[in-house]
C-alpha cells in the first residue's frame, strides 16, 4: 500500500467517479465496518469533554480576535472615508489624527498577535497535546487510519 495516499480507508471505494481501480482485496462489509468504526472513534473524541473545552476556548479566542480586529479596522476605514475633518485634526505640529490612528493600527496588531500567541501557548496547546496523548494511548484511532 502506498503510504502517500490520502486516508487509506477513504481511497478504498470512495465516492462516485473515484473508486479505487482494481485491487479489491477486502469484502464490502469489512470495508464498511471499518469506516464506521473510524467514524465512531472520531465522533467519540469530538464529544470528549476535554475536546469540547478546547473547541470553546479556540472559538472564544478567535471571536475576540476577529471582532476586535474588525471593530478597529472598519472604524479606521470609515473614518478615513467619511470623517476627513476628524482625521485632519493636527495634534502636534505636523502630526495629525490620521497618522496617529494609522500607527495605532500597527500597535494594536502587535498587541493582539502577541496576546493570541500567549493565550494559545497557555490555554490551547497543552490541552490539545493532552487530547492527542490520550487518544494515542487509547488506541481508539489507529495509526493506519489516521495516516494521510
Amino acid at each position: 500500500m502506498v503510504e502517500y495516499m490520502e486516508g487509506t480507508y477513504r481511497s478504498r471505494g470512495g465516492g462516485p467517479g473515484e473508486a479505487a481501480p482494481g485491487e479489491v482485496t477486502w469484502s464490502d462489509s469489512v470495508r464498511r465496518r471499518e469506516r464506521a468504526d473510524a467514524a465512531y472513534a472520531w465522533e467519540r473524541l469530538s464529544v470528549d469533554p476535554r475536546f469540547v473545552k478546547l473547541r470553546r476556548r479556540f472559538a472564544l479566542q478567535v471571536a475576540v480576535l476577529v471582532s476586535l480586529f474588525l471593530l478597529s479596522y472598519l472604524t479606521y476605514l470609515l473614518l478615513s472615508a467619511y470623517a476627513r475633518d476628524v482625521m485632519s485634526y493636527q495634534v502636534a505640529d505636523s502630526v495629525n489624527v490620521a497618522l496617529l490612528l494609522g500607527i495605532g493600527q500597527f500597535l494594536l496588531t502587535f498587541v493582539l498577535a502577541w496576546a493570541f500567541g500567549r493565550f494559545s501557548a497557555r490555554a490551547i496547546d497543552p490541552l490539545a497535546a493532552e487530547i492527542r496523548d490520550r487518544a494515542r494511548n487509547d488506541g481508539a484511532i489507529t495509526g493506519r487510519v489516521s495516516r494521510r
Partner: protein, 574 residues
C-alpha cells in the same frame, strides 16, 4: 540643517536620469552575486530533495523563525517595497492605507495558520478535499490557485521589466550596450522568468524558502539602513520629516491626510464622491481578505513541523512586516521631502522609482557621489531580488497545485507515484513560467498594476469562502466549493472588466485613455476600481446557496476534520 529637495544643480543629475554608469554596473554586479549565491543554495538543496514532502513542503523541517522570514519574503513584493513608498511619496497619506491593510490582514491569518497546517498536505485544495468528493473540488481550487498566481506573476514580471529599464536609465530613449528600452525590458522579463523556473524546477520548496529568507534579510537590512539615513538627516525628529514632506509636496497639510488618491471628494458630484469612498472601503477589504487566501502564502504553512510552529511563524512575520511597513512611511515621506515629486514623476509616472532616487540622494548627502552610487546600486539590486523571489514562490504554488491536484488526484485517481508527481511539478513549473513570460512580454507596455489588486480580489472572493466554510460549516459540500470558487472568480473578473480600470476613464485635459483599453471603447458599467466589496459577498452567497441546493453532506468527515484541525492529531505523521 534640514535639506530639501527642489532645484537640483545640473552636476547632481541622478544616475537614473542619465546614461549607463558605475551605479548601474554595481547594481548588476550585486544582483548577479545574489543570483549566484541563491543558485548555489538551490543546487545544494537539490541534493537533499528526495520525495514529494521535500519538494512541495521543504521536508516540513523549517523552524518558525525561518518560516517567519520566508513568509515575510513571500509577502513583501516589489509592490510593497517600491510601490507603496512611491505612492506615499506622490500622494502622501493614502499610500499608508495600503501598508495598514497589508499588515492588519495578518491578524486573520493568525488563527488560520494552525488549522491549515493541521489538516493539509501540500496545497489549498487538500483542505476541502479532506471532507468532500475529491476530484471536482480539487479542480476548482486548482483553477483559482493558478489564476491568482498567473495574474500576480505577470504583474510582477512586467514590473521587473519596467524597473530594469528605469534603473538602466533607458526610459526615455537611452541605450545600454546597444539595447533600447523595449529590448531591455523584454530581456529582463525573460531573464527573471528563466531564473525563477530554474529555482523552482531544481530546488523546489527548499530552494524557494532559502531564497525568501535571504531576500527578506537583505530587504529588511537595506530598508532599515535607508530609514536610519533618512531620519538622521532630520535629526531623528519625525515631525520635521513630515513637515518637510508636506512643504515639498506642494499639497500642504492635505498631503498628510487621507483623500488625495483614495476616496477623492469630487466637488459638485455627490454620486461619484460616494462611489469613490466605497471604493476606498472596498480596497481596504480586498487587502485584508485577499491576504488570508493567497495560495503562495498558504502553502508556506506546510513547511513547518506542526501547527504550533505555523502559528509562531505568523507572529514572527507580523513583527517583521510591521517594522517594514513603518519604515516605508519614512521612505515615502523622505522621498517626498528630499527628492521631490517632480523628479519622481519625471523618472516614472507611477512613482516606482521613488525609493531608488531617495537612496541615491541620501547616499550622496551622506558620502558624496560615491555614496549615492553605492546606495542606488544596493537598493536596485534588492528590488530585483525581491521580484525574483516573489515570482519563484508564485510559480511554485501554481506548479504544486497542478501536479498535486490536477495530475495526482484527478488524472491519476489519487494514487500517483511520488516521483511522478514531483516530475510533473517540475514540468508544470516550466510550463507556468513559460506562459507567464509570454504574457508578461506581451503586456510589457500596458499599465498592469491593477493585476496585483485583481489577484488579491480573486483570492478574497474565490478562495476565502471555501477555506472559511470548509473549516467552520458542517453542511458545506462539493457543489458549495464549486459554486464558491467559480462564482467568486467570475464575479471578480466580470466586475473588473466593466470597471474604470479596463475602460472609460479618460484624462480630462489630454483626452487620452487612463484605462487599459483605448479611449474609444467604453464598456464601463461598474463604478468602482476595486470589486472586493461586491465580489466577496457574491462568493460567499454562491458557496452557501450551492451547498444548500445539493443534498450531499458528510457529517462524519467534518467531525474528523474539526478534531484533527484543533488537536493536530495525525498532522505530525508527514
Amino acid at each position: 540643517m534640514i535639506p530639501t529637495a527642489p532645484s537640483t544643480p545640473k552636476s547632481l543629475v541622478s544616475a537614473l536620469e542619465g546614461q549607463f554608469g558605475p551605479a548601474h554596473a554595481w547594481t548588476l554586479a550585486l544582483f548577479a552575486l545574489f543570483v549566484l549565491v541563491t543558485l548555489v543554495i538551490s543546487i545544494r538543496m537539490r541534493r537533499t530533495t528526495r520525495g514529494a514532502v521535500d519538494y512541495f513542503a521543504g521536508g516540513r523541517g523549517f523552524s518558525s523563525t525561518q518560516n517567519g522570514l520566508a513568509l515575510t519574503g513571500d509577502y513583501l513584493s516589489a509592490a510593497s517595497f517600491l510601490g507603496i513608498a512611491g505612492m506615499i511619496a506622490l500622494q502622501g497619506y493614502d499610500g499608508f492605507l495600503y501598508s495598514i491593510g497589508f499588515l492588519v490582514a495578518w491578524l486573520l491569518v493568525l488563527p488560520m495558520a494552525q488549522l491549515m497546517r493541521n489538516t493539509g498536505r501540500f496545497t489549498m485544495a487538500d483542505l476541502p478535499a479532506f471532507r468532500m468528493r475529491r476530484m471536482r473540488v480539487r479542480l476548482a481550487c486548482s483553477v483559482s490557485t493558478v489564476t491568482v498566481c498567473v495574474f500576480y506573476l505577470v504583474a510582477q514580471m512586467v514590473g521587473a521589466g519596467a524597473l530594469v529599464a528605469v534603473l538602466l536609465g533607458l526610459h526615455d530613449g537611452g541605450s545600454f550596450l546597444g539595447l533600447g528600452a523595449d529590448q531591455a525590458r523584454t530581456g529582463a522579463i525573460i531573464l527573471v522568468g528563466v531564473l525563477m523556473i530554474v529555482y523552482v524546477m531544481y530546488g523546489g520548496m527548499k530552494a524557494a524558502t532559502w531564497l525568501q529568507i535571504i531576500k527578506a534579510i537583505l530587504l529588511l537590512t537595506v530598508t532599515g539602513l535607508l530609514t536610519a539615513l533618512v531620519l538622521s538627516l532630520f535629526s531623528f525628529d519625525p515631525r520635521a520629516l513630515l513637515g518637510a514632506a508636506a512643504d515639498a509636496s506642494g499639497h500642504g497639510p492635505a498631503f498628510l491626510e487621507p483623500g488625495l488618491r483614495l476616496g477623492v471628494e469630487v466637488p459638485g458630484d455627490p454620486v461619484q464622491t460616494a462611489f469613490n469612498k466605497l471604493d476606498l472601503i472596498s480596497l481596504g477589504l480586498a487587502l485584508v481578505l485577499g491576504t488570508v487566501a493567497l495560495p503562495h502564502i498558504l502553502i508556506r504553512f506546510y513547511t513547518v513541523p506542526d501547527g504550533r510552529a505555523a502559528r509562531t511563524s505568523v507572529n514572527r512575520t507580523i513583527v517583521m512586516i510591521g517594522a517594514f511597513y513603518l519604515m516605508t512611511l519614512a521612505l515615502g515621506f523622505g522621498a517626498a521631502a528630499l527628492v521631490g515629486s517632480e523628479r519622481i514623476l519625471a523618472a516614472d509616472a507611477s512613482g516606482n522609482t521613488a525609493v531608488p532616487l531617495l537612496a541615491e540622494q541620501v547616499g550622496r548627502l551622506a558620502a558624496g557621489p560615491v555614496g549615492g552610487a553605492v546606495m542606488l546600486a544596493l537598493v536596485s539590486a534588492v528590488a530585483l531580488a525581491t521580484i525574483l523571489a516573489v515570482i519563484a514562490s508564485l510559480t511554485l504554488a501554481s506548479s504544486s497545485s497542478i501536479a498535486h491536484d490536477v495530475f495526482g488526484h484527478i488524472l491519476m485517481w489519487g494514487r500517483p507515484r511520488e516521483s511522478q508527481e514531483v516530475g510533473v511539478a517540475r514540468f508544470s513549473a516550466c510550463l507556468v513560467g513559460a506562459v507567464a513570460i509570454v504574457l508578461a512580454v506581451q503586456a510589457q507596455n500596458q499599465n498592469v498594476a491593477f493585476l496585483v489588486g485583481l489577484a488579491f480580489a480573486i483570492a478574497a472572493a474565490a478562495n476565502l469562502p471555501v477555506i472559511v466554510l470548509t473549516m467552520f460549516w458542517r453542511r458545506f459540500n462539493t457543489r458549495g466549493v464549486e459554486w464558491g470558487v467559480y462564482g467568486g472568480l467570475s464575479a471578480t473578473l466580470v466586475l473588473m472588466l466593466f470597471s474604470p480600470v479596463v475602460s472609460g476613464r479618460i484624462h480630462p485635459v489630454t483626452g487620452e485613455s487612463m484605462s487599459v483599453l483605448p479611449a474609444w471603447i467604453d464598456i464601463q458599467l461598474f463604478p468602482m476600481e476595486n470589486p472586493a466589496l461586491v465580489a466577496v459577498p457574491i462568493g460567499f452567497v454562491c458557496a452557501i446557496v450551492g451547498s444548500l441546493l445539493s443534498p450531499e453532506r458528510d457529517s462524519a468527515r467534518f467531525t474528523e476534520l474539526r478534531v484533527r484541525s484543533l488537536t493536530g492529531w495525525g498532522a505530525d505523521q508527514g
